[in-house]
């Protein structure tokens, strides 16, 4: 516990009084001890990063501060006055605003309504909509966001929705702004724009609590950090005093060997496979309004990365391969036989599984236990009559809880009470338990900390080396490059290139591909299909 001591000593430096002080916070859920005696302080005019792995208790601590959860023990002081918030509304009234990891807005309301909800401009007791929209527009303008306040929220991309959520948090004159993974679905430009706003707010004296799994962003933005591990406090540090390697060690509480091994591992070598046929073959497969017709082969033992910006059609492509959406053109062949996948069930029967990017809405079943969630895939295949025997279920669940390091290792915990990364592992367990031959992974590492990310990456590599075919989707190009044998590049709902991931391929090359495809997107409109073929730097001919 030497860490805590250093923390206390740094804390005695003369500083303004903290706006938030949390002492000895403990919170438990059925089957989960989420926080155990955690201390936390937040000063005005600083960006304070809350660091820790999945399940370390970051989100729980935030929810304890904002009154979403009631603390079992401990005190919360705002401006050195004890408070007990019974809900986010009270916390907001006290000047504490939050933007959560998953966008918590009303899809079916307009942007203006979402931003101004509860703060509508009123005149003579009725809402003055034009004025409300005007105000919403000014709030959007602070974020340099130029969208129609009257448009429906669901018509915007996840990234824009995230920015709307931030505008919403800024509507009340917040003294404390909590950003829980605000950048996980933003591209680099949007991140930079967000950071400008955050810095401006900090300089105005707002205390900002920042949670992110991107270490670069944490180091770029934060002044101070608090590290949690397994629901306990590791310590509080000045960002400048804590080298990255030490931070990671404190977060994961074990050696960096695993991580380094992975970092140093050479790129996967494409196995010779002249005689094998692809496990899955898409020929001109497409869906109107979703993704333009594309060709794609996936071989057993191979990781195919899908690279592209948000909304470039990565997810749409994967959903077609899984039968989650119906292709309206083209042909799909599995093991060299034509396959019409009308439902996910049909895909499952052909040993194809898909792990969705939105694990909350399309992944886990929150109110079922970890065990039930993991067994669900097998059960769905068996049909309802033959229940997976309890003994077999336990066997499967124990194996995957152990193999994937699901925490807490309690099969009876409700899946919804787990942290994001552990929910992702539960999902992976569900799919792996069905013993698939083709694994479609859509953003499996989004919003996940370094340790878990490395574990999942290693798992993907292992699975491929054992002969599984994997389609790997990620917004992080480094990750795609590290894992993939081949990379398909998408842009504007169109597959624009495919390249073999040889040693000399760098992220810049892929970025160039994404960008160069963009030049064809000038006033002349989208390129005709034959032009797209030209962009294929490394076509199928090269691979043969």
């Amino acid at each position: 516990m030497t860490d805590t001591q250093t923390a206390t000593s740094t804390a005695t430096l003369d500083e303004p009084r903290p706006v938030v002080t949390m002492t000895g916070i403990s919170i438990g859920f059925p089957g989960v001890k989420a926080l155990d005696g955690v201390d936390f302080r937040l000063f005005p005019g600083e960006v304070h990063a809350l660091m820790g792995e999945n399940g370390a208790g970051k989100s729980t601590l935030i929810k304890a501060l904002t009154g979403v959860y009631q603390v079992d023990a401990g005190t919360v002081l705002v401006d050195e006055t004890p408070v007990t918030f019974t809900g986010p509304a009270q916390a907001q009234a006290a000047g504490i605003s939050t933007v959560y990891q998953e966008v918590n807005l009303c899809d079916n309301l307009s942007v203006a309504e979402n931003i101004m909800l509860g703060h509508e401009v009123r005149r003579f007791g009725v809402v003055d909509w034009p004025a409300t929209r005007r105000e919403a527009r000014t709030h959007l303008a602070t974020l340099n966001l130029d969208i129609d306040p009257r448009s429906q929220l669901s018509s915007h991309s996840l990234a824009v929705q995230q920015l709307v959520a931030i505008s919403r948090a800024m509507v009340v004159d917040a003294r404390v702004l909590i950003l829980d993974e605000p950048t996980s679905s933003l591209d680099a430009d949007e991140v930079a724009r967000l950071f400008d706003v955050v810095r401006a707010l900090r300089d105005r004296g707002v205390a900002i609590l920042f949670v992110s799994h991107f270490l670069e962003q944490v180091y770029a933005l934060s002044d101070r950090m608090t590290v949690l591990r397994n629901g306990t406090l590791v310590g509080e540090y000045r960002t400048a005093d804590l080298p990255r390697v030490e931070l990671v060690q404190k977060m994961i509480g074990r050696s960096l060997e695993v991580l380094e091994r992975l970092e140093e591992a050479p790129k996967p070598v494409v196995a010779a496979r002249e005689d094998t046929r692809p496990y899955l073959q898409a020929i001109g497969l497409g869906r109107k309004g979703s993704i333009e017709p594309f060709d794609l082969d996936v071989y057993a033992g191979e990781v195919v990365g899908l690279a592209g910006l948000l909304g470039s059609g990565r997810t749409e492509l994967a959903r077609l391969l899984y039968g989650a959406d119906h292709a309206d053109r083209g042909e799909l062949r599995v093991e060299d036989r034509p396959a019409r996948l009308r439902t996910p069930r049909a895909a499952l029967a052909r040993k194809i599984v898909y792990s969705s990017e939105s694990r909350k809405t399309e992944g886990i079943i929150a109110d079922l236990t970890v065990r039930e969630n993991i067994v669900l895939g097998i059960q769905a295949q068996r049909g309802w009559v033959r229940r997976v025997p309890r003994k077999k279920a336990d066997e499967v669940v124990d194996r995957y809880v152990e193999a994937l390091g699901i925490r807490p290792a309690n099969p009876d915990a409700l899946a919804g009470n787990l942290s994001g990364g552990n929910q992702q592992k539960v999902l992976l367990a569900r799919w792996l338990a069905t013993q698939p031959k083709l694994l479609l992974l859509d953003e499996p590492t989004r919003g996940i900390d370094v340790g878990a990310k490395a574990e999942i990456q290693r798992l993907v590599a292992d699975l491929a080396s054992q002969g599984m075919a994997v389609v790997f989707i990620s917004a992080e190009l480094e990750e795609v490059l590290r894992l993939s044998h081949r990379i398909a590049v998408l842009r504007d709902r169109r597959k624009v290139a495919e390249l073999v991931n040889t040693d000399d391929v760098t992220t810049d090359d892929v970025v160039d591909l994404i960008a160069s495809a963009g030049t064809a997107d000038d006033p002349s409109g989208p390129p005709p299909p034959d032009e797209v073929q030209d962009v294929q730097l490394f076509g199928k001919e090269d691979r043969a």
């Binding site: 009631q70 899984y322 989650a324 439902t343 996910p344 069930r345 499952l348 898909y354 969705s356 809405t361 399309e362 992944g363 886990i364 079943i365 929150a366 109110d367 079922l368 039930e372 669900l376 895939g377 059960q379 769905a380 295949q381 068996r382 049909g383 309802w384 009559v385 033959r386 229940r387 997976v388 569900r430």
Partner: protein
């Protein structure tokens, strides 16, 4: 202490307390309430009466539980009961030999087939067409009684048929036949949902339909199935109710029973938002509602105030079960408990 707390926190604690209170109050008022007597080898008395009267509501509520678990609701159950009674009794009345077992079996068969079709129709609207359950089943809630009227030709057909009458007032092994039917259906439903994976799949669909579909669960088929099951159970309830009076009263059989059934499900702790369901909870909820109706008469509550009294009891039970209220009560208890003195730093 921990045992006490876990008992108090059990979601069926307050409904069971309500049940006990009602029984005790009725017994105080009418000391013979709990007596069970044997007459002609049949059991009689308060508890037996409760069981017999519960059977109709239990059948309807069981189907409703499954539907609600999938995030749905079935408002057409009362109308289905009316149709079932109308079909069965009209067919029996039209046959040359109303008293024969064959006639009654055939009539019951016809009604079950019609209920099956109704269930398929409801399920089709909800699972395939994607209409909101409350609207989809509203169609038959209103139209269903009209259909029943057409079947009976607008008359209240009265029939004499001993085998059919047995459904409501008969005894077997000294127990009421109606209670036995409901008990068997309850046991079968519990067995099928909990011994197979159906229960968990229904819950999974109710908690998160799109995730379930992506997990390979036949969400559509499951939703469709529960509406069929619900209609079939309502049909059985219709037999018992119509056998009670032996009159196919299209306007009154099962009137407003959908509300009681929903209430029974909610009291039993199954959330209207779908997901986790409890058949035992529904059984308790049904018993509470039936006992309540029965004790109203015993306690001599004036007929005008019956609805009000019923509402008060239901509100009390629901309030005690509500997470918000429970949370407040716990917070209050904690606040009154001694707080360790903090040493100022």
């Amino acid at each position: 202490m921990n045992v006490v707390r876990s008992v108090v926190r059990h979601r069926l604690f307050w409904p069971i307390v309500a049940l006990v209170v009602l029984v005790v109050a009725s017994t105080l008022k009418s000391p013979t309430f709990l007596d069970i007597t044997v007459r002609d080898g049949h059991l009689f008395g308060g508890p037996v009466d409760i069981l017999r009267r519960s059977s109709v509501l239990l059948l309807v509520a069981l189907g409703m539980t499954l539907v609600i678990a999938t995030r749905g609701i079935d408002l057409s159950v009362g109308a289905v009961m009316a149709i079932a009674g109308a079909v069965a009794l009209t067919q029996i009345a039209a046959s040359p030999d109303p008293g024969s077992l064959a006639t009654v079996s055939a009539a019951i068969g016809t009604a079950l087939v019609i209920a099956l079709l109704i269930g398929l129709f409801n399920g089709f609207l909800v699972a395939v067409v994607g209409i909101q359950p409350i609207i989809a089943t509203l169609v038959l809630m209103t139209a269903g009684r009209g259909i029943a009227m057409l079947i009976t030709g607008g008359n209240i057909t009265t029939v004499t048929s001993q085998p059919y009458k047995t459904l409501a007032s008969g005894y077997w092994l000294s127990l009421p036949v109606a209670a036995i039917i409901a008990g068997v259906v309850f046991a079968a439903t519990a067995l099928v949902t909990r011994r197979t994976a159906l229960g968990v799949l229904i819950e999974s669909v109710g908690i998160n339909p799109s995730a379930s579909r992506l997990a390979g669960v036949r969400a559509r088929t499951i939703i469709w199935t529960v509406y069929v099951v619900c209609a079939l159970f309502a049909c059985l309830a219709g037999f018992i109710r119509s056998a009670d009076t032996m009159a196919a009263d299209a306007n009154n059989i099962g009137l407003f029973i959908e509300l009681d059934a929903i209430l029974a499900v909610v009291i039993g702790g199954t959330s209207l938002a779908g997901g986790k369901f409890s058949l035992t909870g529904t059984l308790v909820g049904t018993l509470v509602i039936t006992t309540l109706t029965l004790s109203i008469t015993i306690l001599g509550i004036p007929a005008n105030a019956v609805s009000l009294f019923k509402a008060l009891v239901v509100i009390a039970v629901c309030l005690l079960q509500s997470p918000v209220v429970q949370h407040r009560m716990r917070a209050r208890r904690r606040r009154t408990a001694p707080v360790p003195v903090e040493v100022p730093a």
